[in-house]
Symmetry: C2
Subunit: 188 residues, 2 copies
């Protein structure tokens, strides 16, 4: 269906603004298809993984944590950024995060989607996995040093209630809950 | 259900790194609940709106555009950032973007969710609306000067096919398609 017209924005110059441990920020001067010149503020990110972990009694495992950008404690599915060395294997990151954050290993781990979160200014991609047939790990990997997490398990109704309450308020987690609801409806 | 432990990360100092037209980037030194000190790379964003526009013959309207962070042409639902003056009224932004990007006005516009996209480093929120009873506008608002857009309308099956093809690859759009599918299943 998709015939192309000229969309490309050519980079005329790039200014490096910040290179941190997680993000890199640059300012591009670009030439638009009509010849005019514009600016693009860009954030580069190594990518992330998120897991929808469903327990054997049909509850979703979530972690509560403080999120500095919003100065808020929120409830999310386990997630984390891809470490160097995991770039070609987000499934390994998914397994690691599920173990580190929740203390579980999944005997079934299905890739759901890989999605860009903020395509207007950031290249961050999240690889989302659905995990079931979970098994508690006796001596799980330790959590990241700079993370304080608390674990919860919620039924579908409880999860929807926490969306209404505002404690669940991030896209990947609301997506996960919608995915879970749709999956259950389809399997009926 | 949610008793609290101490999660807060206190800001010890903040370094302003960049203030652009869209994003602002800062580096915070924070004190974690255990007393240790960490760094947080933060991106502040004015927030955005996205619309799930469904035509009277049950197709979803999408826009094709070049996205510089990924150097790719992708297909998304209409969306845009909240302008100054619209901060308390994202519904106005939704109406404006639907008119500017797609040339439609919605006689029914329902708030679906307001969601943080990348809570680990960015405070960007997207307010998502579902639009139906659409009406073509004869003389719509002009598109943004620095945007090149092409309109498409897709059935649910076509939309799912474009996810598989990779042309639809951003979270809000895949979310929108899942929402639409769930809505149809529930109404059956």
């Amino acid at each position: 269906m998709m015939e192309f017209k000229d969309f490309e924005e050519k980079t005329l110059s790039r200014k490096e603004l910040f290179k941190g441990n997680i993000i890199e920020v640059v300012l591009d001067e670009v030439q638009l298809p009509d010849g005019s010149v514009g600016q693009r503020e860009l954030v580069f990110h190594p990518g992330a993984v998120a897991v929808i972990p469903i327990t054997n009694d049909n509850k979703m495992i979530m972690v509560k944590q403080f999120r500095k950008p919003m100065e808020k404690v929120i409830l999310e599915i386990p997630a984390g950024k891809i470490d160097p060395g995991e770039q070609d294997n987000p499934r390994a990151t998914a397994k690691r995060e599920l173990e580190e954050e929740a203390g579980y290993k999944a005997n079934k781990l299905i890739h759901v989607h890989s999605m860009y979160l903020s395509p207007g200014f950031a290249n961050e991609i999240v690889h989302l996995y659905y995990a079931e047939n979970l098994e508690k790990i006796d001596n799980p990997l330790p959590q990241d040093e700079d993370e304080v997490l608390e674990l919860y398990t919620l039924t579908l109704e409880e999860a929807k209630q926490e969306i209404a309450n505002g404690l669940i308020c991030d896209a990947k987690t609301i997506f996960a809950i919608q995915y879970w609801e749709l999956k259950q409806l389809k399997e009926k």
